[in-house]
Symmetry: C2
DNA sequence: GCGGAAGTCGTAACGCTGTTCCGTATCGAC
DNA sequence: GTCGATACGGAACAGCGTTACGACTTCCGC
């Protein structure tokens, strides 16, 4: 059931209607409401599915490299996810539908993703690459990665791949450097 | 005309329909289409208005402090804008309406905002606070600020004001520090 | 086996949206 | 006064989310 929806979401956000989903699934419109109760419920399902996919992607990352490389790989995997699944990422992080305002659901949906971020940040802290409270650092790190990915997805980060890559690298190393233990020396 | 729309946008995104706008403006529905041509045109107008307001806010910032303080004030002003005008910021940076995909318009709309960012970043570069290409730095800086503001607006950055403030400060100083001229010492 | 009851499923309806057409009403020219 | 043009708004059309109702199936009791 949810598989047909994911396929439909991938063919565009505007085309995600109860009727098209019903037709795609060879079901009737009331059957959709039987399963999801609501259109918001349908979107919530692809929302959850998105976080599940993202969590799988991030969990599948190899853990053999050092903590700094692990952070970079994490950002890269996140970036790849939103670039390859733009509409899914849009549903997860923007709010393309006026109904469905996830509050509380989001906590449960993104918990695996959050855990991976916090865990990798904590590893980096214990290895001396970062310094500070792991939760705070993870929040900042995630917000940065999401901001960059959103900007790239909206083609706001540059026109050529070189520019985008360069800016990703620039900001990422800068943020990690600045969050490192040596930052005290430059803060006024 | 556009004033009534801005008022309407402030009372919620879901309530922004051609009929409600017409009623609010004491006009008929076809009159709306006469003026804006399209619902996308209407949204585009509030989109432009949003960037105009943001540009005014940022341009009104005092320029008497140092380049580093100017960057911090810029981020703070941006943050205040999206916190105080959440739905407007949503229209500007998310895509709550499936129609109206600004491509090319955005360049013209955000040009003033972009210029202010680039200018302040350039000042910081010339003062030795930051190091590198000003455009690249401005892109990264803006993406970070937008990511944090979006996260805060979605209540994803923390529950208490102390946490949110602390994380803003943490990431901001870290990013500026890392983008500074000393960052070479820590990049592997 | 047969009749009725219960349950399931889809058609069609309702109110809403964006969008447009056409009737009407107003106004200027002769 | 009459006629033409022009502008304006009510109402219609298609499509959306949502739901009620009717038809068809299925199953149980006799």
């Amino acid at each position: 059931m949810a598989s047909a929806l994911a396929l439909l979401a991938e063919e565009g956000v505007a085309g995600l209607t109860t009727r098209t989903v019903a037709r795609r699934a060879d079901a009737s419109v009331p059957a959709i409401y039987e399963v999801f109760g609501d259109k918001a419920g349908l979107i919530r399902e692809v929302f959850f599915e998105g976080f599940r996919l993202l969590g799988d992607d991030l969990a599948a990352l190899p853990a053999d490299a050092g903590p700094l490389e692990a952070l970079l790989a994490l950002a890269e995997a996140f970036r790849r996810f939103v670039v390859t699944r733009p509409v899914l990422a849009q549903i997860m992080f923007s709010r393309p539908f006026v109904d469905f305002d996830p509050t509380g659901d989001e906590d449960k949906a993104g918990i695996k993703v959050r855990k991976i971020f916090v865990q990798r940040v904590r590893n980096a802290v214990e290895a001396g690459v970062l310094a500070g409270d792991a939760t705070d650092l993870a929040h900042v790190f995630f917000a940065y990665v999401e901001g960059m990915a959103t900007a790239e997805s909206a083609r706001r980060l540059g026109s050529s791949k070189q520019s985008v890559d360069r800016r990703w690298r620039l900001g990422l190393t800068a943020l990690i450097t600045g969050l490192g233990p040596a930052r005290r020396t430059r803060s006024k």
